[in-house]
Amino acid sequence: MRKNLIKKISLISILAALAIILSIVESFIPLGIPGVKLGLANVVIIISFYVFNFWYALGIAFVRVFVSSLLLGTIFQMGFFMSLTGSILSLLVMFLLKVIFKKLSVIGISTVGSVFHVSGQILIAILYMGNVMVYYYPLILVCSIVTGVLTGFISLYVMKLKVFKTFNSSSNKDEQKE
């Protein structure tokens, strides 16, 4: 049991660190449309969400948002609040969706999560800047669906790695049922 606990703590810390690093790296990759990111760090969040539970994922998300904005120098600025709201909203919705629709796979949940992540961000942007931000919503929405599917696929295959197998997680349960 103790060995399991150590493994758990180590894994969570690594995931948190990975989320931070990926977050910083993808902030340097411009995608042409303002506000659109690849969502690589979200892969980590989703994996934590599935392998562990909602609370661990939320914790890692918080750590990611706080530390990456500290390191990037954007803490307590617009970007920080937008990311924070987006992360919280997307995790809440993913949790609800997973509980209600048990048959949905990672890909579907991840896409919805992505959609609500950007929706949360745009919401904060609208509250801050005014209705002019609504103009950007449709395009960013489409992009979020695409990145959501991508993130979902990556998460699906990464979760199959042995390192995640030893935990009594939902992904394990699904595998056992088949």
């Binding site: 600025q77 949905l104 890909i107 801050y128 919503y137 489409v142």
Partner: protein, 127 residues
Amino acid sequence: MFKKYKRDIILISSLLIISLLACLVYFNFNGSSTNLVANITDSNNVVTQINLEKETETEREIIVDGLHQDLKVGVKHNAIRVIYSSCPHQDCVKMGTVSTTNKPIVCLYNKVYIVLISNSDGNDINI
């Protein structure tokens, strides 16, 4: 294998269709390009109105109060653009020259946005 993902496919396709339709609806509103007035909202929420119809073909510069640093905006006949902004991603500058009412220019970092409206009210001529 795809049977397992049937629900996901339904979910994602519907999301995609809705958002693509929203895109089409939004971006098909071509907006007017004549008799334009620019409403520039700066970081102090002060709106400056500039009649772009009365501007000449030569661009002139105006300074707009930005949250972190002032922006340089270029105006000319029925067209406007952000010449300089201190924002990290330069999205507003990259937007280039805007001459239609359906494209706002937003600088989130400096809390400035520019919206063009048409003074025409459906008029064919405006004196």
